[in-house]
């Protein structure tokens, strides 16, 4: 306990003042929000808080970043949270302010991102009367958030706001919504300093799981499985990023020479250039990662969940694995998709470290270097590749060139679609929290606001939004947010004049009927848009020969920069495992060798999603 007196100790203040003070007490340093009638008291409290609380450089202690649309604020907070590991905080008004946040909240839930969303609500007496700007936030968010509170008792306000932070960050993280009627924001009462809600049940479960340590017997059981194995493989997902186990996992991999594949959400848990890393698996995984899944005899899932983009055909996923091992923090993921033979629920950071130590202390001397060599050979033999002689600009080449400049150290956010997969496949990431993408929900429009949020979390980092022409349109209003806050973010637009991933599926499964996806006749001039929105550097590249100098200028530019590259409109994301199918059906195209004969099996398009 700190002996320092709390600034609001023994003071009677408004609910709005309490909210802002608790945000500050929780270590929040940036707010993302949009004002409106039912949240005015909180915005006023933020203003007054910042009048008396300044950083040494004179800037506000709780800066409020205002987007063009509340959805932008939601994704900014998400980008902030993904880049920093700290909960992102959103403050919006009632009704449309709150409903505009539905998509980012569901997106955060699906990717297990901690967020706090404070929404104003009409006064308690007006709830349920179809009042102006009223929406049933409690029911709407109840279905999509980790939890939602509707505060109807002013005496519970403080405890609720504090407790929301605990819920958002504990166990499997997620977004928590606090719906606060305006009269509660205005209610004046004594500041309590440290009250919390009774969370018996949830808290007991979380404590039990997070205190769970791997036992000697479990370590022994784990290694008994590995002793019978010749080809173990680690399959690490987003949970390993949240659990911050980069060092522990790397040590275990290196110590035993176990190869590792990562999911889209797990990219960066180990450097993508590490000798043990076989990069991303799944629908658009590398051929060599997917072959490793097909060949492994023991699969070790770490913070991953056998999602349908990874295990499209669960019975055929890791078909030779005699045993499946699962490390996670969420009991509901164990045995959900694939039955497991050994699992550990709990503090996976400590568990992986303990396993490594157990191996050393017991001189087990397990060494899978022959298998690792086999995987590394596959990595060379079935390497990612594309048409390097095309006169059209290849998107893969653009990302390789960016990568040559940023060397795996940039924060990269994306929209959703082909450009997202190309970035996942061809960009390098040396650390966790550099790769920010909407994985589970697949929300187009994520990239630009997420980059803005990430830049606030990491002011000194190089932040690049690699986006597509379809995705960037969805939140293009936030261009002006980036330039207004003078954020040096870089936006690389890979323009293929359409919704490329949809078009790829239409080429593959719908006889090239480009229903509503071809945008070659659309009027949008992205360069004029960027210029009008305050980007002083806005370049368009249409020829291969212009690419190198444009990329260099773009990356080296001090302020916000926009680069549009007109890419080959027929470029596909390869490899591709058709949805619902096993890796045996992987299509690799003309430039990546395929050890399986490409499937000529008829694909039933109605069964795919």
């Amino acid at each position: 306990m700190s002996t320092k007196k709390h600034p609001l100790s023994n003071q009677s203040v408004s609910g709005a003042d309490k909210i802002v003070q608790i945000l500050a007490d929780q270590g929040v340093d940036t707010l993302f929000g949009y004002s409106g009638g039912a949240i005015l008291p909180v915005f006023d409290a933020v203003f007054r808080f910042n009048q008396i609380n300044k950083h040494l450089d004179g800037s506000d202690a709780l800066p409020m970043v205002v987007p063009a649309n509340e959805q932008g604020a939601g994704f900014m907070a998400s980008g902030y949270a993904r880049a920093s590991g700290k909960p992102g905080v959103v403050i919006v008004t009632s009704g449309p302010g709150a409903t505009n946040c539905v998509t980012p909240i569901r997106d955060a839930m699906a990717d297990s991102i901690p967020m706090i969303i404070i929404s104003g609500q009409v006064s308690t007496g007006a709830i349920g009367t179809d009042a102006f700007q009223e929406a049933p936030v409690n029911s709407l968010m109840g279905s999509i958030a980790k939890h939602v509170f509707l505060i109807t008792d002013p005496e519970k306000l403080e405890a609720t706001v504090r407790t929301a932070f605990f819920i958002a960050s504990s166990g499997r993280p997620g977004p928590v919504v606090i719906d606060i009627p305006k009269d509660i924001q205005n209610h004046v009462s004594l500041f309590e300093e440290d009250s919390l809600l009774d969370l018996s049940g949830y808290k007991d479960r979380i404590e039990k799981i997070s205190k769970n340590k791997i036992s000697e017997a479990q370590c022994s059981e784990f290694y008994d499985i590995l002793k019978d194995s010749k080809k173990p493989l680690i399959y690490a997902g987003g949970g390993s990023i949240h659990a911050n186990i980069s060092e522990e996992l790397k040590a275990l991999c290196e110590n035993l020479n176990i190869p590792i594949v990562t999911t889209l959400m797990g990219i960066g848990i180990i450097s993508t250039e590490h000798k043990n890393c076989l990069n991303m698996l799944g629908m658009h995984g590398t051929a060599y990662a997917n072959y490793a899944i097909d060949d492994c005899d023991v699969l070790i899932a770490v913070g991953s969940r056998f999602d349908d983009r990874v295990a499209g055909d669960p019975p055929e996923f890791a078909p030779k694995a005699k045993k499946i091992i699962h490390f996670d923090i969420d009991p509901s993921e164990i045995n959900k998709v694939k039955g497991v033979d050994f699992y550990f629920l709990g503090d996976i950071k400590q568990a992986i470290a303990d396993l490594d130590q157990y191996h050393n202390e017991h001189n087990l001397g397990l060494d899978f270097s022959a298998w690792l060599k086999e995987c590394q050979d596959n990595k060379n033999k079935y390497a990612m590749n594309y048409d390097r002689n095309s006169s059209l600009i290849q998107p893969y080449a653009v990302i390789e060139k960016i990568n040559a400049l940023t060397k795996g150290n940039a924060i990269i956010s994306t929209g959703v679609g082909q450009h997202q997969m190309w970035a996942a496949q061809y960009a390098s990431f040396h650390r966790p929290r550099l790769w920010l993408t909407s994985g589970s929900m697949g929300t187009m429009g994520f990239g630009l606001p997420a980059a803005i949020g990430a830049q606030f979390a990491r002011p000194d980092a190089l932040v690049i939004d690699i986006d597509g022409d379809g995705s960037i349109r969805m939140n293009i209003g936030e261009l002006e947010t980036a330039s207004s806050y003078n954020l040096p973010i870089k936006i690389l637009l890979l323009n293929n004049l359409g919704d490329g991933m949809v078009m790829q599926w239409q080429r593959m499964f719908y006889q090239s009927r480009m229903s509503a996806s071809d945008k070659s006749l659309r009027k949008k001039d992205f360069i004029k848009t960027a210029q009008a929105d305050g980007f002083d550097l806005a370049l368009r590249v249409t020829e291969n020969k212009e690419l190198d100098s444009a990329l260099k200028q773009f990356i080296e530019h001090k302020g916000p920069a926009f680069l549009e590259v007109l890419i080959d409109p027929e470029a596909s994301v390869l490899p591709m495992v058709p949805p619902g199918q096993s890796y045996k059906h992987m299509v690799t195209g003309d430039f990546i060798p395929n050890r399986y004969k490409e499937s000529d099996k008829e694909v039933n398009s109605s069964a795919m999603f």
């Binding site: 109840g142 279905s143 509170f149 969370l199 018996s200 049940g201 959900k336």
Partner: protein, 166 residues
């Protein structure tokens, strides 16, 4: 497989809706749902009857257990338990002979609560299966004019299974 799930849940705004939402979002079945406060007014007990495979039931329990308001949850059908459902049934007086009606009620332990406006209101308290059978036995003879059922309630035999703290 029919399972009875018992849940202790904190009486917060929207808590029941979240349980119902979870079931509809994940396409789990709810056959019946009964909820009322316990001796502690801040805590309600839900008895929920569902059908599904063991895998689905496993997910139902685990996903519901993740809800913040849920204090504890168990599958009652794992153990020995009492099950009771309460039903009120209206039939028209004279649509069946009083003798036959008495026999039927006696064999199911039902009784007449009232006779008014030429209608009998009958009550039965039994397992859901037995209530089903009673309804079938009546409708085999005469139409039922109105019916209301509580949904199954269940409690463990012997020591309590559902803990106030999980």
């Amino acid at each position: 497989m029919r399972n009875i799930i018992s849940i202790l849940i904190r009486n917060e705004a929207g808590a029941l809706a979240r349980v119902a939402n979870l079931f509809s979002s994940r396409a789990y079945n709810i056959d019946s749902l009964s909820v009322a406060p316990t001796d502690d007014q801040s805590v309600s007990r839900i008895t929920l009857v569902t059908f599904g495979s063991q895998e689905i039931l496993d997910q139902i329990i685990k996903q519901t257990r993740k809800l913040i308001d849920v204090i504890s949850i168990i599958d009652m059908t794992d153990d020995d338990y009492h099950e009771r459902e309460f039903a009120l049934i209206k039939i028209e007086v004279g649509s069946i002979s009083n003798h036959n009606l008495s026999l039927l009620m006696e064999s199911y332990g039902a009784s007449i609560l009232s006779e008014k406006d030429n209608f009998y209101t009958i009550e039965i308290i039994a397992s859901s299966e037995k209530v089903d059978d009673f309804i079938k036995a009546i409708t085999a003879k005469i139409p039922i004019d109105s019916i209301v059922r509580s949904g199954a309630l269940a409690i463990a035999k012997g020591k309590p299974l559902l803990q106030k703290n999980s």
